[in-house]
């Protein structure tokens, strides 16, 4: 079966009226396709809801376009274009490696030899490789020598090789840095080779791959350098690669480990010794420029490598001592780059068409709808966002684009057996998942592991992201998740006739408070889990000054994200980074010493462990998750407090709130937030409704909330496995309403938007969107409140 003949992406997530957005389309098969800009209203195809709704807006770019296949050349590497100094007669190569997949399954998507340090193409040149059997291999033209000793995965090795053109002698060294009692000795291998080094013009020097093909095909322009197709992508770390222009002795190789060391002689030549300085062709030091896209060469020629497809940096090197954990403090211990054969930073496709958004275009969810006559279909979502100062509504909907990027092209149902334990039923895959299962070049999500099993901590938006699609049910919910789920709220806003603007995480991160302050109320997505620091600052500043906030979901404000500054030249928010550190719900766990972001140098992990508790943003924070089915809420006595009773006009006290919905069949489900004044919920927060006691065994308390594994943590037992709908006032007439469940918005479209969840949300929005500060609470509400100390009945007797 062929899945998804058409795929595409745009150069922007958010585009201002008057600006141009470019679309990049892969049309693999059909001779032509139709493109149409549509306004997105509702993306959920569930027959119990209003169904899929889009509106054509008659854009100038609507039309038929010629189909063209476009390829993604994923896999990270460093390269230096062809230079005569690399075309040596004799050579020595050396580096440390920490391979993760020295040997792969014959059906593995990139099975074959892996390049380490190479200037080799089609039987010409030299290079250090790992061969199919997982052994180090030295190639001199078409001659090969190998140790025959398989590399231990996930361990450091020093590898080196030399070739002397005069004697024809080649020597290969493989020196494991971890040696166990029963490991065989690995002796250097020597062989006389009857060959003289020859080179194919145009062959770059490659680190973590080799020059596989030189191509004039139009698709090959998407490779870097254009037309040069890198193959043999290496999985693992490489530290301190060096190339010398003669066959060094083993002692000289040892000395050359020191690299170019300007300063060892008063003449400042670039070598560990004067003699060796004459031999250096390149001596790369990846610890310099960790937050850049370059691999610095400290040798005399300054052959800085261009690093392509954003491998993971700020990785512990062969010499990491376990005393320093922040790469900025001891960069010399962070000279390793972890390359992966599925890294992707930019698909670099040719522009297929573009659209200049007419001035006056309403700020909404849009998509380029792409269809072919044989049934092919894809949507490229984007958002029209007003310029700062040109806001058009009192309400802004903040699209959680960082969270969309974190989940981009997520593969869990296919990769992770544990996915079924998590969701408590057999996962259902859709065409997007099936396509991605064989198109690994589209890259994964920050929930996935790379194809080598290491954690994926960088995600680019310059590639087709098939999870940000309408008509897509996610295996986690067996219902929409993220983008299509957020359209539940959009449908409701449209249905009820509200005027609203769209803003994105990206806009708030770069524009700060200016992006928010003109709005009376900000509405969040259903799952704004991944956030940048500047974004959280902006939200706090907004609420401090009287802004109103409606947190329409759960598991928000959880992970530290930063946009990689190396991509700023391509636009806003191109690549986001996140590290899964010591706690939190983690599909993978960062290794020791690798908690700091390579882009900004900040400590990654949960905001909670940076001292920014989740609950401080909207009043509630993540308590539990489970994905089988959802349930409903009951009002609490606090809902009758006059500070908040207005929210329940038209809703009786005993009504079941949200025992219906398009996500799990109820408003309280999937991921749940609660009030916890010990974790940052303001002490005056009112819990107005809760789902306590109604969840299934599939729901479990989050691990960061307990220190000891013990029974009794599931939804049938633990009182913290619940969702709290909560309200609190902020200074200057501001307030926050937290609805605290990812499934919550799935109840809004129920019965065409006529239901008690809709009534509650409508009451809140109508009050929050009004101009001016909210009414001042009565003086009786002003009192001293502790955090752990609340007004227990026993304390009341004391008063």
């Amino acid at each position: 079966m062929t899945w998804m003949k058409i795929t595409g992406y745009a150069d922007k997530f958010s585009v201002h009226p008057g600006d141009t957005i470019k679309f990049f389309v892969n049309c693999d098969g059909p001779a032509e396709y139709q493109a149409e800009i549509v306004k997105m209203i509702h993306a959920d195809t569930n027959p119990r809801g209003p169904g899929f709704i889009e509106e054509s807006i008659k854009a100038a770019c609507d039309g038929t376009y010629k189909g063209m296949k476009q390829e993604i050349y994923s896999g990270s590497y460093g390269f230096v274009v062809d230079k005569p100094q690399f075309c040596v007669e004799s050579v020595t190569l050396q580096c440390w490696i920490w391979p993760t997949t020295p040997k792969t399954h014959p059906k593995y998507w990139k099975h074959g030899a892996q390049g380490l340090v190479t200037k080799w193409h089609d039987g010409k040149g030299y290079g250090l490789f790992i061969n199919e059997e997982g052994c180090v291999e030295f190639r001199v033209n078409d001659q090969v020598i190998t140790t025959g000793a398989p590399l231990r995965d996930h361990a450091w090795h020093f590898v080196a090789a030399s070739f002397d053109a005069k004697t024809g002698e080649a020597i290969l060294y493989h020196e494991p840095q971890i040696v166990y009692a029963l490991d065989p000795e690995i002796e250097p291998v020597t062989k006389k080779l009857a060959t003289k080094l020859a080179y194919t013009p145009g062959t770059p020097t490659v680190i973590a791959g080799y020059c596989g093909a030189l191509s004039d095909a139009p698709q090959a322009k998407a490779s870097v350098p254009a037309g040069v197709l890198i193959k043999g992508h290496y999985n693992g770390k490489i530290d301190s690669p060096r190339i010398s222009n003669r066959a060094l002795s083993r002692l000289e190789i040892e000395t050359m480990k020191l690299g170019a060391q300007p300063g060892l002689s008063e003449r400042r030549n670039s070598g560990p010794t004067g003699k060796l300085s004459e031999a250096i062709v390149a001596s790369w030091d990846f610890s310099d420029g960790i937050n850049t896209l370059a691999g610095k060469d400290k040798g005399p020629y300054l052959f800085h490598a261009t690093i392509v497809n954003c491998p993971t940096r700020a990785m512990t090197g062969y010499n990491w001592e376990g005393q320093v954990f922040d790469w900025k403090t001891a960069p010399e211990q962070y000279g390793a780059v972890h390359f992966h054969d599925d890294d992707i930073d930019d698909a670099r496709w040719a522009t297929s068409f573009e659209w200049t958004v007419p001035k006056g275009t309403s700020s909404k969810f849009y998509a380029a709808k792409l269809t072919s006559k044989d049934g092919g279909e894809d949507y490229i979502p984007f958002w029209v966002v007003p310029r700062v100062g040109e806001e058009t509504a009192k309400i802004a909907y903040m699209v959680p684009t960082i969270s969309y990027m974190a989940y981009a092209n997520e593969h869990l149902a296919n990769n992770a057996g544990g996915a079924e334990l998590l969701v408590y039923r057999v996962p259902i895959m859709q065409q997007q998942n099936m396509f991605l299962s064989e198109h690994r070049e589209y890259g994964g999500s920050i929930y996935d592991t790379h194809t080598d099993g290491s954690g994926l901590c960088l995600s680019s938006r310059l590639r087709p992201i098939l999870s940000i699609r309408p008509k897509y049910d996610h295996f986690l919910a067996q219902a929409p998740w993220q983008y299509p789920a957020d359209l539940h709220m959009i449908y409701w806003l449209e249905k009820k006739g509200y005027e609203y603007d769209i803003i994105t995480d990206e806009d708030v991160t770069y524009d700060g408070l200016a992006r928010l302050e003109k709005y009376n109320v900000i509405i969040t997505g259903s799952h704004p889990e991944h956030n940048s620091g500047p974004q959280l600052d902006a939200l706090h500043n907004y609420m401090q000054r009287g802004g109103r906030f409606m947190y329409m979901g759960a598991d928000g404000w959880y992970w530290v994200h930063s946009y990689h500054p190396g991509y700023d030249g391509l636009g806003r928010g191109i690549v986001t980074e996140m590290r899964r550190c010591e706690s939190g719900i983690r599909t993978w766990r960062a290794d020791p010493g690798e908690y700091y972001h390579q882009g900004t140098g900040e400590l990654g992990g949960m905001w909670r462990f940076r001292g920014r508790y989740l609950h401080t943003i909207a009043g509630t924070g993540m308590s539990s998750e489970g994905f089988d089915i959802s349930t409903y809420y009951s009002r609490t006595p606090e809902s009758n407090d006059e500070r908040v009773a207005w929210a329940f006009e038209g809703i009786t006290y005993d009504e079941k709130l949200g025992n219906f919905g398009l996500v799990g069949g109820g408003a309280a489900g999937t991921e749940l937030d609660i009030v916890d004044t010990m974790l940052g919920s303001p002490p005056h927060t009112l819990v107005v409704a809760t789902s306590a006691g109604r969840h299934t065994e599939g729901y479990l308390l989050v691990m960061e909330d307990y220190g000891f594994n013990q029974q009794g943590l599931d939804g049938t037992q633990h009182p913290r496995v619940r969702s709290d709908i909560a309200y609190h006032e902020t200074p200057n007439g501001g307030a926050s309403f937290a609805f605290s469940s990812i499934a919550f918005c799935g109840a809004l479209p129920w019965n065409n938007g006529d239901n008690n969840i809709s009534t509650l949300v409508g009451n809140v929005l109508n009050r929050f969107m009004k101009d001016g500060p909210l009414p001042t609470p009565s003086p009786a509400a002003i009192m001293h409140r502790g955090r752990a100390d609340y007004d227990q009945p026993m304390n009341k007797a004391r008063k």
Partner: protein, 146 residues
């Protein structure tokens, strides 16, 4: 570890009936659990299934913990209309393959058929000391952890 009863045993028959009742009651819900909706398609009140049949609960956990290689999944082949059963390869880049020709008209029924297939496929006592093999030292056992 609780064994997986053979399909012909009275225990298995009880579990099969309970599982089917639960799955049937979930039709229409955008989600699924092996629990019985008091009103079909409505999760307001759910009972039975994994909450009340301890053996069914433990057997399902063992089945769900299977690693990706060879694991059965459901594939939606036409949105809201068609579903089929496939098997994961466990190899990056090798897509799942369909294992039966049966096309389902709802997303819940394949859940029950997969339960029946697994009752046939799973060893009764996998995970006991007599099944020890070297892979257990390298996390290659029948219980994945995320």
């Amino acid at each position: 570890m609780i064994p997986i009863p053979r399909k012909s045993s009275p225990d298995a028959k009880r579990m099969i009936d309970e599982h089917k009742d639960c799955i049937d009651s979930m039709k229409g819900v955008a989600g699924n659990s092996v629990l019985k909706c008091a009103t079909p398609g409505d999760t307001t009140t759910v009972t039975g299934g994994i909450h009340e049949d301890f053996q069914l609960n433990r057997v399902l956990l063992r089945m769900r913990a299977q690693p990706a290689k060879g694991k059965l999944v459901v594939v939606c082949t036409e949105v809201e209309k068609k579903w089929r059963i496939a098997r994961l390869s466990g190899i990056r880049g090798v897509p799942p393959e369909f294992v039966t020709d049966k096309v389902y008209d709802n997303e819940q029924d394949p859940q029950h058929d997969i339960f029946l297939m697994r009752l046939e496929e799973f060893a009764e006592t996998d995970g006991f000391p007599e099944h020890f093999r070297e892979g257990w030292k390298r996390r290659d056992d029948m219980w994945t952890v995320t």
